[in-house]
Amino acid sequence: MLKVPYVTNYLSEHFAEDAYATLEGYERRGGYEAARKAITKLTPDQVVDVVKASGLQGRGGAGFPTGLKWSFMPKGADKPRYLACNADESEPGSFKDRILMERAPHKLLEGILIAAWATQSQTTFIYCRGEYAFPGAQIARAIEEAYAKGYLGKRVMGSKFSHDVVLMMGAGAYIAGEETGLLESLEGKMAKPRKKPPFPAEYGAFGMPTTVNNVETFCHVPHIIGSGAEWFKGFGTEKSPGTTIFGVSGHVVRPGLYELPLGTRLDEIVFEHAGGLSAGRKVKGVIPGGMSMPILPAGQLDVPMANEFLRERKSMLGTGGIIVMDDTTCMVRVGWIVTYFFRDESCGQCTQCREGTGWMHKIFERIERGAGSRDDLEILLDVAAKMDGQTICAFADAAAWPVQGLLRHFREDFEAHVAHGKCPFPQSFEL
């Protein structure tokens, strides 16, 4: 099991120490100092302002400014306010939150505590992916330790502030990682994303104002409060500050995790950090941020890994899960796999998503089996366009974008299938 990213930075520098996962070991490295500072020396608004000033963007995939999100929480004490920690890491290609929970559960709790103070929330629900048994156990143990030490529960750190953290293990649907799907699942219902309005900050978990943040997002917060917004902005790009933990998988010599500043070039990550590809193999395409994000072809890997640059290439940073594919890869088959996943995981509420994911998958299957025709490509693009931006949640977008990316850059693969009436690539598995 990977304990430490191959490249570390402030998030992961102590991951080699097993004790860092314990409260004692975490405090030895300065842990909980930032939370103590926030709760005893800063007002909630000051904390929000620091996080706003840091420019921290959510690390769950959408990249929404965290401080701004916190500021949406209504003020006043008429209702309890909640936080939810999205630990339902399910995006294919992403495995960063897992190591954060396994190696630094107290960093997550400290980030939660600061965010709770900033939003004056009474409870945080950590919704952890069901398959993450060990990360979940680490969090559960850390919660116990924090309660025992008086860092959670009534009168946190001797202040007048109280905060509870509840861990809930998920039940295995990708869509439970969508923030309102998560809230539904948290309430014991099927994870069907909610229509907006109302937004979670108004009507969230159990109908109360709620802010949902990703695990990694919370983990940056103690560093920002401890070292300041300016320090944080020393990492990354002007518009995308800080580091992130990139997960690299696929046809590379050294797949794994790499904590690097945002804006690190994709080719640097693939070829220098991850060791490039096996001898004789060439890159064909790279998915930059988890399977939902449009693929980039070999010629476009000179892009800095930050949204402002990736958007120019019609892709996004997503969760930072980098999937590398070499020149033996059949992109029709990639499409088949991608659409299989999204067809399987669509919650089925919205027409376009429920029907579009299945239709696209059936078309990919037919093309891969050699029965495709040229107009299939246009239909694929058209269905993807009809799904994009027209549904309750971003799932349909996430299912449409990779298809658009594959057809944008690898049309010749599709045309070869149509022209030859079969898949021209070596087949690694039966459909």
């Binding site: 229509k195 027409t351 429920r354 029907e355 059936k362 107009d375 239909i379 931006g389 027209q390």
Partner: protein, 529 residues
């Protein structure tokens, strides 16, 4: 109140409503402003999932669903742009990708929103070459409803209905994605007093009633506005008629009465109209004591002869009438006039009683009990006591089985009377004691007004013509009055004229005559409630 502009039309709307709700409030939705929709229903919570109601809103880059977008002062909405058109085409095409297109054998064909909107807003050809989803075609959901999984478009109106209206929640969506399917929860059936409403709100042929399916193609049906006569709630209905036969009741929206619903018992009560037990002949009791079939005219003459003889012998005070809560206000008003002409005040009304609930079902199982009260009739139990006491010798009974234990019980109480004249739609035990029996029309066969429990005067229209000789109660009573030679009964009974007369005479009914109440009815003046 916020003002919004929809397709250039400026509208004043209510605060806190969404675009679709606001247009529905104004009666403009699909009636001047076309925003097609499947999952949204005016009486259910907002779902936002079918995505058909997307519109363009100035200042918002993405299309928005009109069902869930709150109105804002100054909002500019466009429903006819190219982008909206394309979005609708997209939804329609995707909805049809897995649809079986079995319209030729589908009972919904002709009144199917999938057909209608595909024609109106879809693309003419299907581009899909893929196999369609195969699923169960005949799922028995409960006593009243059958489900075709293949036709279902997963709008989830039915699941929301069960959860939100009867509160029984038998239906849910199981599985996910394109395997999603509506089912009853394990161990339950779709079995509640309102279960068949799901077939009305189902926009496609997925949910159908066992009763109506395969009976007739809907394009042969005419929908006549009417009122359910199953209880005093007076739920507004359409009577679907063909071949001089009512095939079904469908709830007709009336936000002051029944919203868009009807109970299952009321829905099935249409069967009374064509029932085998309808009274199809007039009868007169012969000298030998048996009831013999008679012509209508002879039966009227026989009735008037018996009444005249009784008045001559004992005076009019021994004659009494039991008014029916099934009869119209006009029928009852005519009875009042006849009683005045006879010179008796002995009258009461009878109504069968049954179960009630908090939603629609009322205990009084007749449509016009409130009308009878408003017209001055009191409960018939006092009258029954007088009959028992021997003070009555002649009785006119409209549409009620007075032998019902709730009133008389044993026939002996009535069998010693000199004269019993029965007017009824159906055969009943009253034939045992009647001297003259006269068939009358059901509310579905005549014009008139009914007053529901809440004092709302509502109109019924003749949806069919009985195949035998029968008249409205009022007309029969008027003929009886004419036969007795009473003043004011010379002219042929005309329901419109009677209705106007009634509205002119009784202040509570002012402005509530047949021609004035409209299709949604009007409340009686408060004092009379």
């Amino acid at each position: 109140m916020p003002r919004i502009t929809v397709d250039g039309r400026e509208l004043e709307v209510s605060e806190g409503r969404t675009i679709l709700q606001a247009l529905d409030d104004l009666g403009l939705l699909m009636n001047g402003i076309e925003i097609p929709h499947y999952c949204w229903h005016p009486k259910l919570s907002i779902d936002g999932s079918c995505r058909l109601c997307q519109v363009e809103i100035e200042g918002i880059p993405k299309l928005q669903i009109a069902c869930n977008t709150p109105v804002k002062d100054g909002m500019v909405v466009r429903t006819k742009t190219e982008r909206v058109k394309r979005a609708r085409e997209g939804v329609m095409e995707l909805l049809l990708v897995n649809h079986p297109l079995d319209c030729p054998i589908c009972d919904q064909a002709g009144e199917c929103k999938l057909q209608d909107y595909a024609y109106e807003y879809g693309v003419p050809h299907s581009r899909s070459k893929e196999p369609r989803r195969a699923a169960k075609k005949r799922v028995d959901l409960g006593p009243g409803v059958v489900f075709d999984q293949e036709r279902c478009i997963l709008c989830r109106r039915c699941t929301r209905f069960c959860r939100e209206v009867p509160g029984t929640g038998e239906l849910g969506v199981f599985q996910r994605g394109d395997r999603s399917v509506i089912e009853t929860f394990p161990g339950t059936a779709l079995d509640n007093p309102y279960s068949m409403n799901v077939t009305d709100i189902c926009p496609v042929g997925a949910l159908t009633t066992k009763d109506f399916r395969f009976k007739i193609r809907v394009w042969f049906l005419d929908d006549v506005h009417g009122v359910c006569t199953g209880c005093s709630n007076g739920c507004n209905v359409y009577l679907s008629v063909a071949n001089n036969r009512v095939y079904r009741y469908l709830p007709r929206r009336n936000d002051s009465v029944n919203q868009t619903w009807i109970c299952d018992a009321g829905r099935m009560s249409y069967k009374e109209i064509g029932s085998e037990s309808r009274l199809k002949h007039a009868y007169v009791r012969s000298a030998s004591g048996s009831l013999e079939v008679s012509t209508y005219a002879d039966a009227i003459s026989a009735a008037s002869a018996r009444l005249r003889r009784l008045i001559e012998r004992q005076g009019p005070g021994v004659i009494a009438a039991v008014a029916s809560a099934h009869a119209t206000n006009e029928d009852l008003y005519t009875l009042r006039r006849l009683l005045e002409a006879l010179g008796t005040e002995a009258a009461g009304f009878a109504v069968p009683l049954g179960d009630h609930d908090a939603l629609l079902v009322k205990a009084e199982k007749a449509a016009n009990a409130a009308g009878a009260r408003a017209l001055g009739f009191v409960d018939a139990n006092g009258l029954v006591d007088r009959i028992r006491g021997g003070g009555i010798d002649g009785l006119i009974v409209m549409g009620h089985d007075l032998l019902d234990p709730a009133y008389v019980g044993e026939p002996a109480v009535l069998s010693h009377l000199d004269t019993v004249i029965v007017l009824d739609t159906h055969r009943s035990e009253m034939e045992r004691v009647a001297h003259v029996v006269l068939p009358v029309r059901h509310a579905a066969e005549k014009s008139g007004t009914l007053t529901n429990h809440d004092g709302r005067v509502q109109r019924v229209h003749p949806a069919l013509e009985p195949a035998w000789e029968a008249y409205a109660d009022g007309e029969v009573l008027a003929r009886l009055g004419a036969s007795l030679g009473f003043e004011g009964f010379e002219r042929k009974w005309d329901v419109r004229a009677v209705s106007r007369e009634l509205a002119a005479e009784l202040p509570a009914f002012a402005g509530k005559d047949l021609g004035s109440v409209g299709e949604l009815g009007k409340p009686l003046a408060d004092a009379s409630r």
